[in-house]
Every structure is written in structure tokens, then in C-alpha cells.
């Protein structure tokens, strides 16, 4: 490529840990009343000889008022939006029935050397949400980004540490757009690795409706 930027858009495991720490502290300072990012230290079963600390960032119990109508059947696995009649007169949102809960995990991918977002949603009764339910909760621009951008698409994969299926944004395009986002156009400029995660999150957050406050990007804080 020999381009104008030598950095390839990836980050090292140590930079991931440092950036995770920076994100956690800033989020706490800016959003003390919201659920907080927590570092979960752990060890992968299959791993090599990593002696450094390993873990992932978790943001859990984000409550989201669901967009689905109240008169939808709650225990029908085959329910589809087209089948239930939509009646404006009976549309009432109650906190119990229509509150959805979301968990977001940021996990480092050793193969792609970038962070990966894993997320899941569930109803208050613990019933997991399918992707089609989750998509109804998201703002319109999220669908647009997911459907149009070749850099972001959702799949269901096994969580690397929890060994159960979570939804994830595939990481194969991440280093390309992070190279643009943080790399800048000065060849001598060192990318700002400490803010890698908040920059990355500003993009992936939009695809999953996770709102990132502007102050997170203010480097003077």
C-alpha cells in the first residue's frame, strides 16, 4: 500500500487495556447515573502463553423502552409484526411488559487485533430477544448504517469468554475504518491509542443504538 499512513488501524492487547481504562473512567465522570463500564478479568480456556492481564469491558442492564405494541402475543415464538393488528387506540407502553434490557461487551480479538462488540437483549422476564426484535428498538439511522455500510454487519457468534451465543458486529472491516478515523493524513502523526475505544465506540455505538456522549471525545477532560 505504501500509503501516507503507516499505522494499520489495529491496536495491541496492552493498548486495548489502557484504552478500556480510559473509557471506563471518562464514562464514570460524564455519566455517573447510567450503568457503568466494568472490566471483567478472565482467562480463555484455549489460550497460548499470554501472561498479561486479559479480560473484556462490560456495560450491562441498559434499559430500553421497547417499540413493540402491547397487544402482541408474548409467548409466541413465531410472532411476527405483520400478523398482529396495530391499533393506535390500545397502544399503551408499560414499564414492566415493554422494557428491554441490553448488555454490551467489548472484547479484544487476538486474530483481528481490534475490539469487537458483543451484545444481547432480553425482556424483563429473561426471555432473549431475537435480532428482529432488537432491530425494532433501534433508531432509524442504525438500520440505515447496518444495511448500507459494508463495514458493519451483525452475526451471531459464541462469546469468546462466556461460551454462549451473542450478537456481534463482525470485526473484519474495523482496522480499515479505524485507520481513517484515527490515522489522519499526516504520515508522522502517531495515532491516539488511548482514545481508540471511544473513537471506535462512536461508530459501532450508532449501529446498535448505544448513545455515546460528546464529552467522551473531548480530550481536555
Amino acid at each position: 500500500m505504501g500509503g501516507h499512513c503507516l499505522w494499520d488501524g489495529t491496536l495491541s492487547p496492552n493498548d486495548f487495556i489502557a484504552s478500556a481504562d480510559d473509557l471506563t473512567k471518562k464514562w464514570m465522570a460524564i455519566n455517573p447515573n447510567l450503568p457503568q463500564w466494568t472490566w471483567i478479568p478472565c482467562q480463555r480456556m484455549d489460550v497460548s502463553c499470554n501472561t498479561q492481564a486479559e479480560g473484556y469491558l462490560a456495560l450491562e442492564n441498559m434499559y430500553q423502552l421497547s417499540a413493540s405494541e402491547v397487544n402482541a402475543p408474548t409467548d409466541d415464538e413465531n410472532y411476527s409484526a405483520e400478523e398482529a393488528p396495530f391499533d393506535n387506540a390500545t397502544l399503551i407502553q408499560s414499564y414492566n411488559d415493554d422494557m428491554h434490557i441490553y448488555d454490551f461487551h467489548i472484547v479484544y480479538s487476538f486474530s483481528y487485533q481490534v475490539p469487537v462488540l458483543y451484545f444481547r437483549g432480553y425482556r424483563c422476564d429473561g426471555h432473549p430477544l431475537h435480532l428482529c426484535d432488537i432491530e425494532k428498538d433501534l433508531p432509524p439511522y442504525s438500520s440505515k448504517i447496518r444495511n448500507e455500510s459494508k463495514w458493519t454487519f451483525m452475526t451471531q457468534e459464541e462469546h469468546p469468554y462466556l461460551c454462549c451465543p451473542w450478537y456481534t458486529l463482525h470485526p473484519c472491516g474495523t482496522s480499515d475504518w479505524m485507520k481513517l478515523l484515527l490515522g489522519g493524513d499526516l504520515p508522522s502523526k502517531n495515532p491516539d491509542m488511548l482514545h481508540y475505544l471511544s473513537a471506535w465506540l462512536s461508530v459501532v455505538g450508532q449501529t446498535v443504538g448505544l448513545r455515546i456522549p460528546l464529552e467522551l471525545h473531548d480530550k481536555s477532560i
Binding site: P139, Y141, E148, S149, K150, W151, C172, G173, D176, W177, L180, L181, L182, G183, G184, D185, D192, H195, S198, A199, S202, V203, G205, Q206, R211, I212, L214, E215, L216, H217, D218, K219
Partner: protein, 94 residues
């Protein structure tokens, strides 16, 4: 972009910069009402470039949420009297 707005609206100068392989616009500086959302900038770019998939970001730092107000972005991240917005084409899957 908004052509008419109340006198009390503050206008923000937005400088659109092409990065990567994105085409360069003939006119790169525009004024937009401060209380417009950032999605107006994104939509303007899409119409001008006739491309749906764009990657839009500010200051080599982050990609703004489409419903952020332009005036908030300018106040926090603008410099030299303008808000620099970079754009790139989303690459296809290889």
C-alpha cells in the same frame, strides 16, 4: 442545507474534507443552522456525492451521532471558526 431560519439561529461553517478514495466536492465550505442535527450534514453529503454509504467523522477523533446538534459539535470540536467534517466512502467487502 437550510436556507431560511430565524435570525436568532446561529449558523455554523462546516468544512467538508474528502479522505481515502472519496471524491472531492467542488465547494467544500457551507453554512448550516446551528440547531440542525448532524444528519443534515450526512444527508447533504449523500445527495452531493450520490452515494449511500459514507463514513463521516470529525477531527480524527470520532463519528458524530446523527442527532447531535451542529452547534454542540462546533462549540466542542470546532476551530478556526469552522467545524471540519471528514468523509470517506465505505469500502466494499473484499
Amino acid at each position: 442545507m437550510a436556507a431560511e431560519s430565524p435570525i436568532s439561529d446561529r449558523k455554523v461553517v462546516v468544512h467538508l474534507r474528502a479522505t481515502g478514495d472519496a471524491p472531492i466536492l467542488k465547494q467544500t465550505k457551507f453554512k448550516i443552522a446551528g440547531n440542525d442535527n448532524f444528519c443534515k450534514v450526512i444527508e447533504f453529503l449523500r445527495r452531493q456525492l450520490r452515494r449511500d454509504t459514507l463514513f463521516v467523522y470529525v477531527n480524527s477523533a470520532f463519528s458524530p451521532n446523527p442527532d447531535e446538534l451542529v452547534i454542540d459539535l462546533y462549540n466542542n470540536f470546532g476551530f478556526d471558526g469552522k467545524l471540519v467534517v471528514n468523509y470517506a466512502s465505505s469500502m466494499a467487502w473484499g
